[in-house]
Symmetry: C2
Subunit: 329 residues, 2 copies
């Protein structure tokens, strides 16, 4: 199996990407293809010992910046690490693409170059999040900020397949993020999405209020890309701010400081509840290729985990199953 | 000063409402008018000793249920505790109205009966939230799920006045909740709102990504009522879920249990970061009357705090200042 990784993607690239790739080839039976600026990649690779035949470099002389427009890899920088990486998936023998770079650019490049799965009109980014009951998938967290109701319905179908195939959940329940539990809540858009989903998804359980998300109210949590991105980021910010506040408060009291020390190992577990990097990457669903988007601040561990998640998608032939299920329903 | 309180509003009404009212008259120089079912109110009041001349009951024989449509108090139940309470504000000598009942119903009753402030087309609910820098106001958290860009701009102006007059912030900064920092991010709606706000609000600082909200990036955080309600509820759910997880994890280790015991007083402070009830109520801004909406699960302390917040709004003549500032800008 060959996974293509954007060596230039993310705030700490290529350093963290390469470190994660090395961890991955030590742990998994996988070969890696790195796209990006050859000199920089080689300089990082030199720091490690690894079987040279398992890492290949495809040089690209352009890099899409984190703040550049989403259309950059399809208009201005067609020889960027993102564009070249995505296009490799169209050739035989390349199984998946991972990038911690500019999310909008990855979505645009993948949509433009790979096209859509049968039965899907727009891509959506899923994010596996931990809940009190296990895990759920929140989709869309940012591919499509302004979708139509039918796109939400398609996201629901894709999420259901993902939770079933990749996470082994039987008959995954599907819920619509809304500001009230009863049917008829939210805007016209939400009412229409509710109606469509209740017609077309047999495990649709109705609206899920945002305070129920982390309680694990449904296996699949469906929303537009604007709202999903807000949920993702506000939780990230809240957890970070609480961490800072905890440290501030604790420093005021030696007793609390001792308490924190004793709790340390357990507090680590809790931080995971809103830690994106734990899960490595977020699958870009709907495009005709296995693409994984990692957080811009990905650690080496996050990159390794994203590689693991892609390997599992390849092994489970997620594209075939998803295309079949989504277009059938 | 006379504050009207909906005795029947909230999940624990009239019990928590009455207990909060009693706390308030003991602490503040205020008289209270309770609207609701007289027998039930009297039964609760009997539990306390208080100066009888400071609490008045206005009997209403209807109650709007928490799940009834927002139009209930203006169509079906015109003699409900919400409808009667709001209408009292139109008579001289009644200064503010507080309800922990059905939010949509309070918004509808207030908008219909009181009308809008000059320069404002739609109401918006503001919520004062604690941040790492102090406090900010998040607006709208649920009055108008589907506003137009100009309504967001009006919310920005109202929030600015609120932070200045009530919280003493000089030149409060105003930010738009968006999924990217740069201009041009988000949907067409967000681009238009950005444009309007940058033209009409002199302290507009641009987009605020949701992960920056709790860091205190701007004093006023502007969004539509759908997104604001999602932010409010997802944070509530995350904090609650983390609390449950902390307890679960701690129980597994006697050392962590001791640690938690030592940290207890400090952890309490941190919980406040997403605890709505700490701030008692959320002002309904834009209507021509002082209306405060409290959480359905309000504790007596939350009701007391909402009364305190209303008193301050009355003392600062917030309606006059807001009408003047908003229509002038």
């Amino acid at each position: 199996m060959k996974i293509v990784v954007d060596a230039m993607g993310g705030d700490y690239a290529p350093k963290n990407v390469i470190a994660g790739v090395i961890e991955a080839i030590n742990e998994f039976d996988v070969n890696i293809v790195l796209t990006g600026i050859k000199d920089q990649i080689e300089a990082e690779l030199k720091k490690f010992k690894y079987p040279a035949n398992r890492i290949e470099i495809v040089h690209t002389d352009e890099v899409v910046g984190m703040d550049e427009p989403a259309t950059t890899p399809i208009r201005k920088k067609r020889n960027s690490s993102i564009s070249v990486g995505v296009r490799l998936l169209k050739e035989p023998g390349y199984d998946a693409f991972i990038s911690a770079g500019n999310t909008g650019a990855v979505v645009a490049a993948a949509t433009f170059n790979l096209g859509m799965l049968s039965g899907v009109d727009r891509p959506a980014i899923g994010l596996v999040i931990p809940t009190l009951k296990g895990v759920s998938i929140l989709i869309d967290v940012g591919a499509n900020a302004d979708p139509k109701p039918e796109h939400l319905c398609q996201s629901g179908k894709m999420a259901k397949v993902y939770m079933n195939v990749l996470l082994g959940v039987q008959k995954p329940s599907v819920g619509l993020v809304n500001i009230g539990e009863e049917e008829g809540k939210g805007t016209g858009f939400h009412k229409e999405a509710y109606h469509l989903m209740s017609e077309k998804i047999d495990t649709f359980i109705g609206n899920v209020e945002p305070n129920e998300i982390y309680k694990g109210k449904s296996d699949c949590i469906i929303c537009d890309g604007f709202v999903g991105n807000v949920i993702l980021k506000v939780c990230e910010g809240l957890v970070e701010s609480m961490g800072i506040l905890i440290k501030r408060e604790i420093k005021k009291s030696p007793i609390a400081l001792l308490g924190a020390f004793l709790m340390k190992s357990k507090l680590g577990h809790i931080k995971k509840l809103a830690d994106y990097s734990e899960y490595g990457g977020a699958p870009l669903l709907g495009v005709n290729g296995i693409v994984m988007i990692s957080h811009g601040r990905s650690s080496p561990k996050a990159i390794k985990n994203a590689i693991r998640a892609s390997i599992r998608e390849v092994e489970h032939k997620i594209l075939d199953v998803m295309a079949k299920e989504v277009s059938a329903s």
